[in-house]
């Protein structure tokens, strides 16, 4: 670690800056442009996932030997990417980022053999749909205590339980299912393609309609011994925390979109003979969005940079998520309010952001950085 890295610093590296340009261009052209139509259709544009391949997101951290780019994994760069993509559209950003989350988790816990078997699939020309199933459909879901269980039977495992809000969950050819291995602790299981006892159904939700999200149920799904990722346990807390950072970054991206949109709107919209931005109640609401947004981003950056340095970042992740979940929803709400009746109409994107931002408090287990 060089001397300069020990300073407090908010400067992006040259690489990060270049990458930011790429992400922003892609987000603007491919995500923002198509978001409304996809939201109305409740489905991704047919070629979106394939087109997202040009970003090479999943490829990056995969070792060159396995066909990847072999770029050292960077939680900081990942949250920067997540922000910029979500600035285009949160659902589509999730679609683009989900395979990366799978790759990251395989890199974190997979055995060498598993890495060799699975990771090259992400390095081809074709988009490889893979996802993580974490969240469970209970009002009292506690991410620290999973109710989806696996028990050892013979050499293999039997999986039971239900998962919800699984991005790309309908089409994924590879599922990493996070479950409680009875008597041993939390573990991840590799489920490939269709297996007996697994049912998938697309779910409709308040937001995130631009990405295919699924409910999964596992009814005595028999898995082979090789389905167990790595040596059998995962660091669940770390997994949750890494996913929190990605999720928060998505919230930052959408919130930035809100800020930009309302800033322009309130300056253009006139009432009582002046732009409505001349009213303190309007202007202060915009100022507050900017303040909380910047704070959200700084909290995410701090946690991600600690993660990147291998420092303990659990508290930072907990605080970032609490903060971002609350503020993002506040920003979403005020975004609609600032446009008044127009904000409630689907001709403007703020209502979609309102619906998507509610998910920041809900969507654990995605976007692992």
């Amino acid at each position: 670690m060089s001397e300069s890295t020990a300073l407090f610093d908010l400067t992006l590296s040259d690489e990060q800056r270049m990458n930011q340009d790429t992400m922003r261009r892609f987000a603007s052209a491919e995500l923002r442009e198509q978001a409304r139509e996809a939201d109305e259709a409740g489905a991704m544009p047919g070629d979106f996932c394939q087109r997202s391949m040009e970003l090479g997101l999943a490829l990056m951290p995969i070792p060159e030997a396995l066909g990847g780019a072999g770029v050292p994994r960077s939680p900081v760069s990942n949250v920067l990417n997540a922000e910029d993509l979500a600035h285009g559209d949160m659902g589509l950003a999730l679609a683009a980022l989900t395979p990366l989350a799978v790759v990251n988790t395989i890199l974190d816990y997979g055995t060498e053999a598993q890495q060799e078997a699975l990771l090259p699939r992400f390095c081809g020309e074709e988009f490889y749909p893979a996802t993580i199933a974490f969240k469970e459909p209970r009002a009292t879901f506690n991410p620290g205590k999973l109710e989806t269980t696996a028990r050892r039977e013979g050499d293999g495992f039997v999986l039971n339980g239900r998962k919800t809000l699984v991005p790309l969950g309908v089409e994924a050819q590879l599922l990493l299912v996070i479950a409680e291995l009875e008597g041993e602790g939390p573990a991840a299981f590799i489920v490939e393609g269709e297996v007996a006892g697994l049912e998938r159904s697309a779910s409709r939700n308040m937001g995130l309609r631009t990405v295919q999200v699924a409910d999964l149920s596992f009814d005595n799904v028999a898995l082979p011994a090789s389905a167990l990722l790595g040596d059998g346990t995962i660091n669940l807390q770390r997994f949750i925390d890494l996913s929190r950072l990605g999720l928060c970054a998505l919230g930052v991206g959408v919130s930035r979109a809100v800020l930009e949109y309302v800033t322009e709107y309130v300056n253009e919209r006139e009432a009582f003979g002046e732009p409505i931005s001349h009213r303190q109640s309007v202007a202060f609401m915009v100022a507050d969005i900017a303040i909380e947004l910047d704070a959200m981003r700084l909290m995410v950056w701090q946690a991600a940079s600690r993660a990147e340095r291998g420092e303990d970042f659990h508290k930072d992740a907990v605080m970032a998520q609490r903060f971002c979940a609350d503020k993002a929803m506040e920003i979403g709400t005020n975004g609609v309010q600032l446009l008044g009746g127009h904000g409630f109409c689907r001709e403007h994107p703020v209502e979609m952001w309102y619906r998507n931002l509610r998910a920041i408090a809900i969507l654990d287990g995605v976007a692992t950085v």
């Binding site: 969240k135 469970e136 459909p137 209970r138 009002a139 009292t140 879901f141 919800t164 809000l165 779910s203 409709r204 939700n205 308040m206 937001g207 919209r269 006139e270 009432a271 009582f272 003979g273 009213r279 109640s281 309007v282 979940a325 929803m329 709400t333 609609v336 309010q337 008044g340 009746g341 127009h342 904000g343 409630f344 109409c345 689907r346 001709e347 209502e351 309102y354 619906r355 509610r358 998910a359 408090a361 809900i362």
Partner: protein, 403 residues
Amino acid sequence: MIHLELSAQHQGLQDQLKMVAEHMMRPYSRKYDREEHSEPVELAEVAKLLSGARGAGSNAAAGDKQEPEPGVVKNGGNLMSVTAYEALCWGDVGLMLSMPGRGLGNAAISAVGTPEQKEKYADSYAAMCITEPGVGSDSANISTTAVLDGDEWVINGEKIFVTAGERCDTLVVWASLDRSKGKAAIKSFIVEKGTPGCEVTRLEHKMGIRASDTAAISFTDCRIPKGNILGSADIADDEAGRKKAFGGVMQTFDNTRPPVAAMAIGVARAALDLCQELLAKEGIALDYAEKGVQLTAIEDELYRMESEWHAARLLVRRAAWMADNGQPNSMEASMCKAKAGRMGNYVTLRCVELCQGLGYSEEHLLEKFARDSKIIDIFEGTQQIQLLIVARRLLGKSSSELK
């Protein structure tokens, strides 16, 4: 004598309407949320049933004006109205807004119409046309015009955000007799649908209350009988007269704000009930016991929502009660709309969060409540407009001093 419970009569009505809401509205909530712009035909029966129940929260009742009688306390049409709106919106805000014969235009006709107008349009389904593309809260600045030509008014202009604008049969349209004379020249007119020159040009695609149609309507040399003006055609020529004239038009809002605030009470209650039902299935229930530091975060949040809900409801009932008893309630009407609007938004969004995946999913209605409730803090005067009205009254400021 201070007593803040509903009378037996009002409570009975609310109980009945909640049954109606539960059995005749809720079953269609999701259907018409998805099938935007299709007419909720099942409601015809409900509307028939309601029109049977005298004063059952019709908007006509909300416009009910009372002279104060010393020593006599009344619980009348206004309290009835907020009670009914609360119950029906516990069922479904969008469907309630689609109920034939219950448009906000009916309230306006009832409040300022002549006996003949009231009779003629008693069974109409009247929508209200105020907002214009360039004019939101700034109602004094509308550009739609009405010009007298012989025995007819000729109306020209464009209106948006007309609730039930497509399904209604009658429109109450705000228009200016003379744009150079400002707000004193703004009058409202009854336009029957089908009148040549009056055309629905667009239906809005909305985040919530999708069962309710929200229309854009254009008026092109639209001719209506001279008698279809609501109130006098005179334009006041002094400041006091001008203020009074526009005040009359604006007064409609004093009557309609408490019922609209009551919509937020209804939908927030719906969210609270469903949220607690889902939590109860997993063993979490509010018991109001003294738990000290053992109180859980989820209980804490439920208490907070419950108390905010009760607070808002009391403000709504107060405003309605004042109208029933001939007390000027313009400030209190805005107070309750401001409080209920933000409460509804806060509660419905938080209920989604508390139920996590179940809250966010379309399998349950919590996410719909959070979408529906947002508009209540916006239409019939935004949160910000209500605060402005309250502040001006409190501080004794004119609209030019406190903008």
